[in-house]
């Protein structure tokens, strides 16, 4: 019924700016919604605690290669994602990053079904770090949160290049070891890829994803202007005899620092986990006896002990009731200080104290720690944030007295022993 309107836009742009603004707002909002949901997808499973009751540590002077940070239980105060965390400063950032990596326990006995349920690979010697690529840059941070490198990389969102899929959310988090000699980041685990969380995925899936995705990006290519360091995967084997043997013996482009064992079904769990294990002997690591960050055997050990290589230091946490505990959850008690001594020395609960294991050593009953001969040396270096873990103390003790040998491992995965898969305490003859 309406009469036909002849008028057409004349000498006028067809788009109204208001409409344009509305559309741009809508675009921004739906992008933000996608980002928020994506972020929840990525990080809901890595709810992280950030608590401020820790004493403020001073910058770290001494970093032990495998010191054991502890993930604090208790109410979660704040959820952060890795990009927010990177804006943290000072001690906060170190606490945050210290709790982000999955930390293997030391192998003090051989787990069941090693050949069925586990992977093994040779751990590259170097600095364990978390590599985050996002917003056109890549940052690697050591366990203490300090920045190792800040560089462009071929990882998704890792450099300011035109990446067709380069949304701000397309970030990656890789668990790496930086190998000084060939200036290469060896990726030992994949935590997030292109914004997708792999926290809740099994190691099997993560390693599959790692091996299929990393090379696609060009991250394994030789360094170039937009790709400052090479990344590399490490050969991962099923932990059967052949695999174990290959990991132990076969030459790799990097210096080995022990063997890592990953349970295939385990998710990426931050902090200590018995589902990842580290094992070392002199053949595959130059750092079997715990050393300082320069690889020197700790100096105090040399001074005090008659047989330096056998002296062992442990760091334990003083509890309120005077007990000395490890960093494990629940903690393992190694001994007790009497109240008078504590008062006299001005020690407070929560302090980290350094002890030497005396000639009495550690004694076990039914595989449980019964007694330990501890000699108080003093407060630990203030940079230390956590006590030693039980497995570390025991492994170091065993190394000095009754080491778990490679042959033991090999025997435990021998086909004949397949059904049992018990740790073997009979030494095989070569």
């Amino acid at each position: 019924m309406a009469p036909h309107d002849l008028r057409r836009p004349f000498k006028r742009p067809a788009i109204s700016d208001q409409q344009r603004r509305r559309e741009l707002s809508l675009q921004r909002q739906s992008q933000n919604r996608r980002d928020a949901q994506q972020q929840a997808r990525c990080l809901a499973s890595s709810v992280l605690s950030l608590q401020s009751q820790y004493p403020d540590p001073v910058p770290e002077l001494e970093i032990e290669p495998e010191s054991q940070p502890q993930q604090e239980a208790g109410p979660l105060t704040k959820d952060l994602d890795i990009r927010q965390a990177s804006k943290l400063r000072g001690p906060e950032v170190r606490k945050w990053f210290a709790s982000q990596l999955m930390l293997p326990e030391w192998m003090i006995d051989v787990p069941d079904r090693l050949s069925h349920d586990w992977y093994v690979f040779a751990r590259p010697a170097g600095k364990r770090c978390m590599v985050v690529s996002s917003n056109g840059t890549t940052v690697s941070r050591e366990r203490n949160g300090s920045i190792l490198h800040h560089f462009p990389s071929a990882l998704p969102s890792g450099a300011r290049t035109k990446d067709p899929s380069g949304s701000a959310q397309s970030y990656c988090i890789l668990d790496c070891i930086f190998h000084e000699l060939d200036q290469t980041y060896y990726v030992i685990d994949m935590v997030c890829w292109r914004g997708y969380s792999l926290y809740d995925c099994t190691a099997e899936f993560r390693f599959f994803w790692l091996n299929s995705k990393l090379a696609e990006t060009g991250a394994c290519d030789a360094p170039s202007h937009y790709h400052k360091f090479r990344f590399s995967t490490v050969p991962v084997y099923d932990c059967d005899q052949r695999g174990l043997y290959s990991a132990y013996i076969e030459s790799v482009p990097y210096a080995k620092d022990g063997l890592l064992f990953y349970n295939k079904h385990a998710h990426y769990q931050t902090g200590n986990t018995p589902l990842a294990l580290v094992w070392k002997d002199e053949k595959c690591s130059q750092y079997v006896i715990d050393t300082d960050s320069k690889g020197q055997v700790l100096s105090q050990q040399q001074i005090i002990g008659a047989k330096p290589e056998l002296r062992q230091l442990v760091v334990l946490e003083l509890q309120e009731d005077g007990k000395l505990s490890t960093s494990d959850d629940p903690p393992v008690i190694f001994g007790c200080l009497d109240g008078e001594f504590i008062q006299k020395s001005g020690l407070q609960s929560g302090s980290l104290l350094k002890f030497a294991i005396g000639n009495g050593g550690l004694s076990f009953v039914d595989g449980k720690l019964e007694k330990s001969d501890l000699n108080y040396l003093g407060k630990s270096n203030r940079a230390r944030m956590f006590a030693d873990s039980y497995s570390k103390v025991i492994f170091q003790y065993m190394v000095r007295h009754t080491p778990l040998k490679f042959d033991d491992l090999l025997a435990s995965v021998s086909p004949s022993d397949d059904e049992e898969n018990k740790p073997c305490d009979v030494e095989m003859v070569d």
Binding site: M1, L6, A40, R194, Y196, D200
Partner: protein, 872 residues
């Protein structure tokens, strides 16, 4: 029984508000107490020639409003209401209306024709008024029918045909109706009054005549009569006949070929010699043909030229005669056409059509137009110079850059000089032509631009000088700057070229916006819109300091609008418009600054003052919220993040108001979007406001009056809220999930023939999935089991959509993501569900095969989540 309501109907139109209100209340009461009796009374009023025209007019309007409404839901309710009325009342009403068609009062006949068509639109599809067509046709064949009755009957037939589909009648009836209409156009038998009514009826019945247009003989007959009518001696009838031709051009393009020779002659005579009203329709005929062929080209297969419908290339074939004809019209400008928005004349229509021809035939138009341009551009008559410039500007869209580049390069300097022409029209059109050049031939990002670092300075000198010219010229200059800036958006290193000039561009745009001599022109809004584009496209790292200085300047202006003295509603409207422009600029600045970490601080430092201004802008109005301020606040919430919490106590009332504004649905939609921004900014700090927000959102969703386009964003917003407040969403779950399930059901009932509805359905689906994703993620760590009862329904819905071939990419992405969320949040509980959902595998492999990296990644992640559940 009919009531005597004349007094009420007259009083309801009284100048005295008290009398008017009372009468309206009385009428409403009558309507509510006894609708059938009331409608009958209205028809009795309408049919009675003794009654005053005023009361009959209102009676007709009220009848119409009881049967029809713009809003689809209300319309449906009214139809049901009518159908429910007792048949004896309905028959009486219909009878009275048909009798009114014979009234000597034209207005009563006209109203009655409209009301009959409304009833027909309700009843005929239900086969409830079978005798209508017969009795209307009877009016036409009765020898003794008066011309007035025939005129009204034809008008009624036209309206009825417009309301119903030809499928609602048997073909014999359709034929009879069209025969009656076309015969009504017959010169020998009928008076001018009847022929005009018949021609207009045919116009309304063209869609209805689908079957007849497919039959060659009938089509020939209709076309012959229309073409004859287009030569009637009465100008109104010629105009109506040309209107039919325009409509036929777009409705029946595919059958036009045999008539094109005749139609070309007919239209070309009209353009050259007929009255302007007719000539305008004749030009419009060609514009419509262009529209059709442009659309056909868009759907053509570029390789083979194939498409579903044939393209007859009428424009290409007619171009050598058509283009000169259109060029001639360009010389018929009116003196003040650039100052007055309401003017539409033959030169404007001709110029517009020429632009469409260029888009239709591309390069071939250039040699036909350039001689005209070259011959006229230097003449002393301003009309020649303006026409030449307009012709040049018209052909810039369509031909290839290769064809145009040498011409534009050659003429560019000339155009810049023409900005100093003595004639206002020439300058207006020159500025417009420059803006077209910048729009179409200035794209550094892809490598071609007429602007070089060498000539940029001269261009800007000319533009910034001309922006001080007359308001109409200045407005076009703003357009030129707009496109000049736009070309540098995302242009890499080239975007730096404009940076050194930014300060002076901004200063001149602000000065233009402040001009008081603008009269009716849109200079002010054009200046602010251009400012927005300049800011949006600027190179942020180089210009952040300049934009940081602009921010307080705009805030100051917005502050001044609050001091304006408001005495009339006109003042209020002007204040609102100015605030809209300024809030728009602020929004753009906020968004620009929050795009980089380095510049975000500019906003954070001033967020308090900005927010105070917005709140004061809101306070200027009592019943509505200011749409632009709302839009800007969304951007501010995004920029400030959790800090936004401190504004919430004050802002919340406006958020409520916006969510309740179902009439201005854009406002409601924008407010819903802002709720999402606020949720993301505040996270769980939004909790205290959620009860209120959720109840308003739920209300809005169930409000059938609210424009449907707002509903998908509301569903997505559930997800935003759930993600922000996590487990606290639990209490809303029963309501929200019910709405989501109903929406899912509604998707299945949409008409999948209608493209708009397909789009809408896809939006709805994406939003439902986004809502599920947000809720699942929100509950994941603590109360995921709450969602367990809904898991199966969700999977079934996804399956349904997986099998739907109308599903678009966004829906696919959202569906895949929500599957992953379901597996992720509910874990092993969903093992059986996923085991039973065999479609998942097919869906996953479809997605994993996609070329879309993002979709592949999402699918890979989801696959991982599902596998984890399946092996658990």
């Amino acid at each position: 029984m009919a009531m005597e309501i004349t007094q009420f109907l007259l009083a309801a139109q009284s100048a005295d508000a008290n009398i008017r209100n009372e009468a309206e209340a009385n009428l409403r009461q009558l309507q509510q107490q006894n609708l059938p009796g009331f409608l009958l009374s209205l028809s009795v009023e309408l049919v009675n020639n003794e009654k005053p025209t005023e009361s009959r007019r209102l009676a007709g309007i009220m009848l119409k409003n009881s049967l029809d409404a713009k809003d689809a839901t209300t319309k449906e309710d009214l139809a049901k209401q009518w159908l429910a009325i007792d048949i004896s009342y309905k028959s009486q009403v219909k009878d009275l209306l048909l009798r009114t068609l014979a009234s000597p009062v034209p207005e009563a006949r006209h109203t009655s024709a409209q009301v009959i068509a409304k009833i027909a639109s309700i009843e005929i599809p239900q086969k409830q008024w079978p005798e209508l067509i017969r009795s209307l046709l009877n009016n036409m064949t009765q020898q003794d029918s008066l011309a007035a009755l025939k005129q009204a009957t034809l008008e009624t037939l036209g309206y009825v045909c417009e309301e119903i589909s030809h499928q609602d009648l048997v073909q014999d009836e359709v034929n009879a109706v069209l025969t009656a209409v076309v015969q009504g156009m017959n010169l020998a038998e009928h008076s001018a009054e009847v022929r005009l009514a018949a021609t207009r009826a045919l116009y309304n019945a063209l869609d209805f005549a689908l079957t007849n247009f497919q039959n060659e003989m009938e089509r020939n007959y209709i076309m012959k009569v229309v073409c004859e009518t287009a030569k009637s001696k009465e100008v109104e009838i010629r105009q109506a006949a040309f209107e039919c031709l325009v409509s036929i051009a777009s409705t029946y393009y595919e059958v036009l070929e045999p008539y094109m020779q005749t139609l070309f002659e007919l239209t070309s005579n009209a353009v050259k010699g007929d009255e302007e009203a007719v000539a305008l329709q004749a030009v419009e005929f060609w514009s419509s043909i262009c529209d059709e062929e442009i659309e056909l080209q868009e759907f053509e297969n570029p390789e083979t030229g194939d498409s579903d419908s044939p393209n007859y290339h009428f424009i290409e074939k007619a171009r050598s005669s058509l283009v000169p004809m259109l060029l001639e019209t360009l010389l018929k400008q009116e003196e003040d056409q650039d100052q007055d928005d309401s003017i539409w004349n033959i030169s404007m229509a001709g110029g517009t059509c020429l632009g469409l021809v260029a888009r239709t035939v591309g390069d071939e138009v250039v040699p036909l137009v350039m001689p005209f341009v070259e011959a006229n551009i230097v003449k002393s008559d301003w009309r020649c110079r303006e026409a030449a410039t307009y012709a040049f500007g018209s052909v810039l869209e369509g031909p290839t850059i290769d064809k145009l580049a040498p011409l534009v390069h050659a003429g560019f300097d000339f155009l810049l000089n023409a900005m100093r022409d003595e004639n206002n029209h020439v300058k207006d059109t020159t500025a417009w032509t420059l803006s077209r050049i910048f729009e179409l031939l200035h794209c550094p990002a892809t490598g071609f631009s007429v602007i070089s670092p060498e000539n940029l300075q001269r261009i800007l000198t000319v533009l910034l000088e001309s922006i001080k010219d007359a308001p109409n010229v200045a407005e076009k200059v703003c357009g030129a700057i707009y496109y000049l800036a736009q070309g540098y958006e995302d242009a890499g290193p080239s975007s730096s070229l404009l940076s050194p000039y930014l300060t002076s561009i901004i200063a001149e745009l602000l000065r233009a916006a402040d001009r008081t001599d603008v009269g009716g022109s849109k200079l002010r809004s054009a200046a602010y819109e251009t400012l927005n584009e300049v800011v949006r496209c600027s190179n942020i790292t180089e210009t952040s300091q300049i934009i940081a200085e602009l921010l307080p300047a705009i805030m100051g202006r917005l502050g001044q609008t609050l001091e304006l003295q408001i005495v009339s509603s006109d003042d209020r409207e002007k204040q609102g418009d100015l605030q809209a422009s300024l809030c728009g600029v602020l929004q753009v600045i906020i968004q620009k600054f929050s795009s980089t970490d380095a510049t975000k601080s500019f906003i954070l430092q001033t967020a308090d003052q900005i927010m105070v201004l917005f709140l004061r802008v809101f306070a200027c109005r009592s019943s509505t919220v200011h749409e632009e301020a709302m839009l800007a606040i969304g951007a501010l919430a995004y920029a400030t993040g959790p800090e936004f919490a401190k504004y919430m106590p004050e802002f919340y009332q406006y958020l409520q108001m916006g969510l309740q504004n179902s009439e201005e649905y854009q406002v409601c939609a924008i407010t819903v979007g802002v709720v999402g921004d606020v949720c993301r900014a505040l996270d769980d700090k939004v909790l205290p406001f959620c009860d209120g927000i959720m109840s308003l959102l739920l209300n809005a969703l169930s409000n059938s009056q609210l424009n449907r386009s707002v509903k998908p964003p509301i569903l997505s917003c559930f997800g935003d809220i759930a993600l922000a407040i996590g487990v606290h969403f639990e209490k809303y779950v029963p309501h929200a999930l019910q709405m989501m399930q109903e929406a899912a059901k509604a998707c299945a009932q949409l008409d999948m023939e209608d493209e708009e509805l397909i789009d809408y359905g896809n939006q709805l689906r994406s939003s439902i999935f986004e809502a599920y994703s947000g809720i699942l993620q929100g509950f994941k760590s603590a109360r995921a089991e709450v969602m367990m009862p809904y898991a199966q329904h969700l999977l079934q819905f996804i399956e349904l959509i997986f099998k739907d071939n109308h599903r678009d990419e966004n829906v696919t992405k959202a569906a895949v993501a929500v599957m992953g969320d379901l597996a992720d949040a509910l874990g092993p509980n969903t093992k059986l569900l996923f085991k039973d959902s065999s479609f998942c595998n097919d869906f996953m492999s479809e997605c994993l095969r996609s070329d879309d990296e993002q979709l592949k990644e999402t699918a890979g992640w989801t696959q991982g989540m599902i596998n984890r559940v399946l092996v658990s």
